[in-house]
Symmetry: C2
Subunit: 205 residues, 2 copies
């Protein structure tokens, strides 16, 4: 398709598309003349990824570049590529020198983890904040949340692309994190409302 069709299909304005091309976030089209090029589904898909990361996850272009590079050239170790790609998403948390609360929770849940992975520091920080607010997370809550979260993570992995296609797996992990986390949080707030209505609201008279 021509660049005008790519703009129409993607909904991304022409100056923005040209900017992404100049910045190398979007690969060049196939030259069809001195001043024209053809674009394919790959370009459309890439534009959608960039938009999701920029608009939904609020990522600056520098971080989008890191993620796109990992999708295009995943490392030999898929596990490492996944960790690096998801770690580029918010929230940005400094790696902790130690992470006693996260370690206790993950040991309790019997989960494998890379201590350097950003989500370990993220969990430590979240557990520390709850402690400091006087609302520490009990072991029973870790068990309940950990079990429920494991169930939905099983669904995510069951529906992932084949691991042989590392690019597709990294893309799925990044978008499934950036796009589905807001869905989960909204669903939790709505589940609370549903249960509060069932349990606490007086029937309409």
């Amino acid at each position: 398709m021509r660049i005008s069709e790519l703009v129409a299909e993607s909904g991304v304005p022409l100056p923005t598309v040209k900017y992404y091309l100049r910045e190398g976030l979007l690969p060049a089209g196939e030259a069809t003349g001195a001043r024209s090029a053809a674009y394919g589904d790959h370009h459309l898909r890439r534009l959608r990824i960039i938009r999701a990361l920029a608009e939904v996850a609020g990522l600056p272009l520098g971080r989008i570049r890191v993620i796109v590079a990992l999708i295009d050239h995943p490392r030999d170790d898929l596990f490492d590529a996944l960790g690096a790609a998801v770690a580029a998403l918010p929230p940005q948390v400094d790696t902790a020198a130690d992470y006693p609360r996260a370690r206790a929770a993950l040991t309790r849940l019997g989960q494998l983890y890379d201590p350097q992975y950003a989500a370990v520091a993220q969990l430590e920080e979240a557990l520390r904040a709850a402690d400091e607010a006087g609302l520490p997370i009990s072991d029973a809550r870790i068990d309940a949340y950990g079990g429920a979260v494991r169930a939905l993570a099983e669904f995510d992995l069951d529906h992932a692309p084949e691991p042989a296609d590392a690019s597709a797996v990294v893309e799925y992990a990044v978008l499934g994190t950036a796009l589905y986390e807001p869905v989960l949080l909204a669903l939790r707030r709505l589940a609370h409302q549903h249960l509060a209505a069932e349990r606490w609201r007086a029937p309409e008279s």
Copy 2:
């Protein structure tokens, strides 16, 4: 306790405590002299709430004021007070004129909801973003996520204060949303890592 002890116990600096007092976010202590006052556990607890909302949820003082007012003077209808308090937390989403995706999902899950509740617009926006990125959320995923989220919301409600103490319930709902959402997201990323390690990582040789 004296104001200096309140500062030491809470970890909130004296100028900040004085600022919260002037702004009415923190109720005045009991006067013990012309220039001194006594503070109690209530003040300590309130300082922790303000700090959690300001530092963890990143809320501006205007929104914290709304939440604190709802905790101090919950409306007659607990259900309405809960909705208003949690709606003051991020993300801020404009109420949608219509919410076809959220309605379909909530109907599918068989959940009661108030269409004006902010989380409905939040869910609509999140589902729309996934659609537009070319990664729409399937019915099977709604079922899987909805079921897992319902399980953890059941735990939350089971451990809520008695509904007769409306202030305590509103406080629990606000803090449980602001403080526990980051825990859940970190746990999901770590569950993915655990499962990816189990399923995809070659055993160390």
